[in-house]
Amino acid sequence: MSRQPQRALTEGPWVRALLISVALAFIGLFLLLPLIVVFTEALRNGVLPYLAAIREPDAVSALLLSLKIVAIVVPINVTFGIFAAWAIAKFRFPGRSLLVSLIDLPFAVSPVISGLVYVLLLGSRGVMGPLLQDWDIQIIFALPGMVLATLFVTFPFVARELIALMEQQGNDEEYAARTLGAGGWQIFLRVTLPNIKWALLYGALLSAARALGEFGAVSVVSGHVRGYTNTLPLQVEILYNEYQFQAAFAVASLLALFALVTLLLKTVLEHRYGRELKTH
């Protein structure tokens, strides 16, 4: 082979070096540096103030509330995701692509709007406000409202992972089980579930990460009642606005740590079970 085409198959060493430098500089500036800033600012005054900040009662109750929301939201997302994926991936029906678009819709809606819609529907001055007040039910500025807003924001995560995977896998194995006389639940538990378990975990992981870190939507429906309706991200905002920067970054570092764990688990899942996740 002559040298000419060999050389034209890749870029020259200088172009290569330039492209790598540009890419790494951009990643360093926009992704790595912020990560370093969070932990440095959190530990600015040393370890003891850091520990004090994350053990502070308001921070602890914010952490517990955040975890409570995750514990409620993720199982609901998983359940809905399975039903939606079963209907959409296993059957053909008119309006199917519209349904898929509607499931993705929350991705295109601002988090603030995701909170706003529930205030308009269920707030004391909202459409159902008077009715709820008669029954003495408080949704907005309380836990149920924060759960609803988070459900809206995390709506597509599990469903879209499962739909993509199950469409690709097809129905052959389920048909075979059916022919052998298996019932619906049996088919699902013994055939489908083992095929989608990693994608299910992947979707659950993404929706848990988003539920834990959601800020805009929860902020709108929370009412900022300190120690009662504050999640971790809202606590970060409060501390920051009170100029308690070190404490704000200490609480933020907890969230950053969760984010890093999420990235790690996500990468592990993609590398080990990439083929069983399909889209990645």
């Binding site: 926009f30 912020p34 029906f93 295109a108 990235l263």
Partner: protein, 276 residues
Amino acid sequence: MNSLAQQRRTLPGFGLAMGVTITYLSLIVLLPLATMLLSSLGNGPAFWWQAVSAPRVLAALRLSFGASMAAAAVDVVFGLIIAWVLVRYRFVGRRWFDALIDLPFALPTAVAGITLSALYAGNGWLGQYLEPWGIKVAFTRLGVFVALVFVALPFIVRTVQPVLLDLDKECEEAAATLGASRWQTFRQVLWPSLAPALLTGFTMALARAVGEYGSVIFIAGNLPRVSEIAPLLITIKLEQYDYVGAAAIGSAMLLLSFVLLLVLNLLQRRLQRVQR
């Protein structure tokens, strides 16, 4: 085995799964969104227009959409370079950098917000070097743009990466054998496959950036008519109990996003037709 009736007979659970899906979708997403659209017209269409065309609201909408487009466009350029480098070259730490790309997805927006303002404030990590040059990032529109560049980056990289991985090396080899320079090969062989992916990434990045709240509000300074984004204005209206005004801005944002996505999708279709 392809007729509707046959398939339904073959696998059970269609009715139950469909029923749960439609009910849950309606309760959690559709009903609340419809409430907002109706509420926004609560005082009549003239009031809606008045609320949306107020100078402060127009400025906020212009900033949200303008800065998002600029940020997504910048990310298209750097995202393509990053995806290219991650897919085509081998270097130390490549996997770590690859994993880091998803950080803006995983890092809570409030954390990103306070971190970016710590970086770019006048006395911040980078701000102290930028301000002597007359470059003010924090509390200006430039700050909004920087935050949105952070938020939108993974959308571009993650849509381009799989396309680059799937590209057939043989076409490039053929082009090279026929005497094409590397740039010609890129322009004529690679670009037609990359362009639709870049447009898809741009569209997703834009949709996300337009509504972004948490990572922007800390660095923007939120000066009315200067660096105030539309989602923030919604929360301000809500705090003033101006529910109709808040709903009007929300519906205007949805409407604009919808039109924008429609245009970009049409463009996408044309791009793919030209290719064929």
